[in-house]
């Protein structure tokens, strides 16, 4: 059906090819690796004894897990910095993707590019630091500008020393609290957001002590250079000039940096992709086993990828041994084949809805098609409206193309189409039933017909569900469930019988005498009651009851009661499909009544629009959920387990 066939692939080759092979596989994104050592131990990894394989065979006795020990955390950080810089300074280009396979080349290229970048960036940061420093000196000297002494006299006082310090705000509080014990005169000159800059005058004799205190408060000394001579206000002019110079060179350097990044755009991105590939190939490598000369690699590969993989392996000139097995040939029961769903475009978006319940196991029937058809039908029947369906369709289209929500958007699109079709059948457009004629039926005029039709459809779906469930059970050779279970043949025949009886009673044409009917029903209920012992007799098992007879009958007895109840309720449950079709009309009737009560035309239009919005959002949501409930609870519980594992290949996402 729609579940992709899987192959267990075991590869053996020379360790020299290992790196390249794993990278090619990761690029292809076609393999879900499994532990090779486990495969070897479970003896699924069998090499034929022949002269060609003799070396590989001899080597097997020294086998060990492959130790992946490449260290590139620093490189990753460097790439991150480069990418950040690209975002700040560079532009983005189209570029030609080239993969570097060799790790050392990768490292070399990166260190080359990063080295150049780092040199530029350090210069830039130094300049920025200088700018900040100049700014603080400027402000600090501004404090001295009225002093009519030359700078050199202030900085080289005989008994005092002037100092400029930068200190975190909270430490300044401590210094303030302790002024009387600090042997300096302190004047804070700049208050920034998180730090404060202060000017201090300390007697030379007490310099050591006060330095120590400042240091313990994490004060950073700002050094005033010697070439600032003359009166403070003249020095200010010099500093101002220097600030402008620095500003200018920062601009130039930024331009240089941006040019560098743009020139190397391709290299940087390719290096990034190559590291990405290295990481992914590492994931494959970690599951492999190796000896000194050979590697052993195992993994699941879907059938559709086999040709491209074969082509890939051709590139290695038969240096790699391939052992291919299908899931049923595998003796290791612990390795469960993963499931890859394969559906055509029409049904693909519904896979996500199946996934919400559970991924089908490898040997199960994929319910996607069944779900897609029944769900769209039910949704349309409940929410049949040309206009609102169109809104839904457009919404889905937007989701898909603008927000890249492929699955949700796709589902909405299909539901919208179904809603439009039913809209024509019901003759409803934006709730109004007067604009277009009904091609089939007007729900409000034929309430009973709609409800009965819903139940009949429901019976049809349930019967389909039974058939699928029985097929699934028989595929798994589960006789207990398939033949005697309440979802199995016994339950199915009981259900058919009950339906026939009801139909014959309604049309007053008794098919069989009552006693036969009673015997018929009791017989199937007994089968359900005794399902485990019966199955065990057929299978020739010695124990009849796996968990003791008493417990079994209590449990099974309730199950029989539940069978009766659930068949009844499951069938009636489908009435909601009809009920929502009515509800849909009813809601609009309410809004149009409100619209006609208002006198002004504008208000009534507003109410109608609002009504439509509410119907689409609220009722759309309810119908979406109710439909899902019917699928999951009424139908999936009959035939679907969803105990599988999704196929997750190791794949590189290139940026």
């Amino acid at each position: 059906m729609a579940i992709e066939k899987m192959h267990m692939l075991n590869l053996v080759g020379g360790i020299a090819d290992f790196d390249k092979l794993t990278k090619m596989i990761a690029l292809e994104g076609c393999m879900q690796p499994v532990s090779a050592l486990q495969e070897i131990n479970s003896s699924d990894f069998v090499l034929k004894t022949s002269t060609d394989n003799i070396e590989a065979l001899m080597d097997v006795s020294y086998i060990r897990p492959y130790l992946y020990d490449k260290e590139y955390n620093i490189s990753l950080k460097h790439i991150e910095k480069l990418k950040d810089a690209q975002k700040t300074f560079g532009k983005s280009f189209e570029y030609e993707k080239e993969m570097i396979f060799d790790f050392d080349t990768m490292e070399k290229q990166l260190s080359e590019v990063y080295g150049k970048y780092e040199a530029l960036n350090t210069r830039l940061e130094d300049l920025k630091e200088k700018q900040l420093y100049l700014k603080s000196t400027y402000e600090a000297l501004g404090f001295l500008k009225t002093v009519s002494l030359p700078m050199e006299d202030i900085t080289t006082m005989k008994n005092f020393q002037m100092g400029l310090y930068k200190v975190p705000e909270q430490n300044m509080l401590k210094i303030k609290a302790n002024y009387e014990n600090i042997p300096s005169v302190i004047k804070s000159v700049i208050k920034e957001k998180e730090f404060i800059i202060f000017l201090s005058f300390t007697p030379i004799l007490l310099l050591v002590e006060s330095e120590r205190i400042f240091k313990s408060a994490n004060c950073e000394k700002i050094i005033v250079p010697d070439h600032y001579t003359g009166l403070p206000k003249d020095v200010l002019v010099t500093v101002r000039k220097e600030m402008n110079e620095v500003q200018q060179s920062i601009g130039e350097l930024q331009k240089e940096l941006s040019n560098f990044l743009n020139e190397n755009y391709k290299t940087i991105n390719n290096i990034q992709n190559s590291y990405e590939l290295e990481q992914k190939s590492g994931e494959i490598k970690k599951s492999a086993a190796c000896t000194n000369e050979f590697f052993y690699l195992s993994g699941w590969i879907p059938d559709s990828f086999m040709t491209s993989l074969n082509k890939l392996l051709m590139g290695f000139d038969e240096r790699i041994l391939i052992i291919k097995k299908l899931p049923h040939e595998i003796s290791n029961k612990a390795s469960i084949p993963p499931t890859m769903l394969k559906n055509n475009k029409l049904f693909k978006p519904f896979e996500s809805m199946v996934g919400m319940y559970g991924v089908p196991s490898y040997d199960e029937i994929d319910p996607t098609i069944f779900l897609a058809i029944t769900y769209t039908l039910m949704f349309g029947a409940m929410f049949g409206d040309v206009g609102q369906g169109l809104v839904l369709f457009l919404g889905g289209f937007m989701l898909k193309n603008k927000l890249r929500r492929n699955n949700l958007g796709g589902v909405f699109e299909r539901l919208g189409v179904s809603s439009i079709i039913f809209g024509f059948l019901y003759g409803s457009i934006f709730g109004s039933e007067t604009v277009i004629p009904a091609l089939l039926i007007r729900p409000m005029d034929h309430i009973n017909d709609i409800l009965i039709a819903a139940i009949i459809f429901g019976c049809g779906f349930l019967i389909l569900g039974f058939v699928l469930g029985i097929t699934n059970s028989l595929r798994r050779k589960d006789i207990e469930r398939g033949f005697f279970g309440k979802e199995g043949l016994a339950g199915f025949l009981f259900y058919i019988g009950a339906l026939t009886l009801i139909v014959s009673v309604v049309y007053k044409t008794p098919l069989l005498p009552t006693t036969i009917w009673i015997i018929y029903f009791i017989f199937f209920l007994l089968l359900i009651l005794l399902k485990q012992p019966l199955a065990n007799i057929i299978l020739g098992k010695k124990v009849l009851f796996e968990a003791g007879a008493k417990d079994y009958f209590i449990e099974s007895g309730f199950e029989v009661v539940e069978t009766l109840l659930s068949m009844f309720s499951n069938t009636l449950s489908f009435i909601r499909v009809g009920a929502f079709a009515l509800n849909h009309v009813g809601l609009f009737v309410a809004f149009s009544a409100m619209a006609s009560m208002t006198k002004s035309g504008f208000a009534s239009v507003l109410i109608l629009i609002l009504g439509n919005v509410i119907i689409i959002c609220l009722e759309g949501l309810i119908v979406f959920i109710q439909g899902l409930r019917l699928e999951y609870y009424e139908l999936f519980s009959k035939y679907y387990e969803g105990g599988g594992v999704a196929f997750e290949p190791v794949k590189v996402k290139l940026k």
Binding site: N73, L76, K174, A177, N178, R212, A217, N218
Partner: protein, 346 residues
């Protein structure tokens, strides 16, 4: 009403977690075990730590490794609690977590300082979790203290450390480590602004209490053992205490003898911790004091952040107690002496 929505889930969780803590009986049984093996057995068989120790072979488990396991267990519980919060409280809990990240950062920096290998350092780290603000793998791959400090560029730690790494080879790591501790307090204070008044007060008092106790410990040690000048003592204290005013702290820094120390403390709740002149007992009394204080908050059972904060402190003390007990058993300390290192009195 808002606080009920915000805190009832976490308070219930805290109640459940408190049920798992050691009872007085279990404490006494652990303390009365005759050797390390039987202590570990009691821990495994009779307490909630059994779940944790299940996976380990107690015969071969090294005492130091067990310590790491217990710390990691604490961090694990901590990291899970974050799921009960959103918005400003999520940020607050994250800010409190910085404390453990800082402990790890110290281990990394110290490891690099001593030239330890990457795997050696890695095995001592406890706070690797989704709450981290730093990239462990990157920092571990760097070579020395200066590189690590540079590697912290862009993180909350860089600003305080950037000037200190050059001096570290000559003057040791004291300054770096203290600055890191300050980062913890400043980060929490930054988050405080966003809280409502009731919770702000709660957090301030809890943080203030922690600060008070650390300040007292620092001043006491600085005075009795290291003779640190008062100005420096004062500069390394944590401000915004709970029961200790800035003036009192300053007075404490400038005392001449321990008698004055006790006199100043007399009027504060911390008097009992330092009143007997036996420095070995200070830590025990400190733990007991905290336990008493926070157990009271836990009993009050208010729908605010106090429950989870208190639980985290009390549980922390329990972990430290267990580590103390295991240490005593490993080094054959008698119970009469061993009792001086745990937060309980038999």
């Amino acid at each position: 009403m808002g606080s009920v929505v915000k805190f009832s889930a976490i308070n219930t969780k805290v109640k459940a977690l408190m049920g798992k803590m050691l009872s007085a009986d279990q404490y006494s049984k652990l303390l009365n075990s005759k050797d390390l093996k039987s202590t570990l057995n009691v821990l495994k068989e009779e307490t909630s730590y059994g779940e944790l120790l299940e996976a380990y072979n107690l015969e071969k488990l090294h005492r130091g490794d067990l310590e790491i396991i217990l710390h990691k267990y604490y961090i694990n519980i901590y990291s899970k609690l974050i799921n009960y919060f959103n918005g400003e409280y999520r940020k607050l809990i994250k800010a409190f977590f910085i404390r453990w990240e800082i402990e790890d950062l110290k281990v990394i920096i110290r490891g690099k300082y001593l030239g330890r290998s990457k795997s050696e350092i890695e095995s001592r780290l406890i706070a690797r979790s989704p709450l981290n603000t730093i990239n462990y793998d990157y920092l571990l791959a760097l070579k020395n203290v200066e590189e690590v400090v540079e590697g912290l560029k862009g993180s909350i730690y860089y600003k305080s450390l950037k000037n200190l790494s050059k001096d570290s080879s000559a003057k040791g790591l004291f300054r770096i480590e203290t600055e890191l501790d300050f980062v913890y307090f400043t980060s929490i204070r930054r988050e405080l602004k966003h809280l409502d008044n009731e919770n702000k007060e709660v957090v301030q008092s809890i943080l203030g209490l922690e600060g008070d106790l650390l300040n007292l410990g620092w001043i006491y040690r600085g005075k009795t053992f290291y003779n640190i000048p008062p100005e420096e003592l004062f500069n390394y204290t944590i401000y915004n205490g709970y029961k200790l005013s800035k003036e009192n702290i300053k007075k404490l820094c400038y005392i001449n003898n321990m008698e004055e120390f006790n006199n100043i403390l007399e009027k504060t709740p911390y008097a009992t911790i330092y009143e007997k002149d036996d420095s070995n007992l200070i830590e025990k009394r400190e733990r007991e004091f905290q336990k008493k204080y926070f157990k009271k908050i836990l009993r009050e059972n208010k729908t605010n952040i106090s429950m989870v904060m208190s639980y985290l402190v009390v549980y922390r003390i329990e972990i430290r107690d267990i580590i103390s007990i295991i240490e005593q058993k490993r080094y054959d300390m008698d119970i009469s002496q061993g009792i001086n290192y745990v937060s309980v009195t038999l």
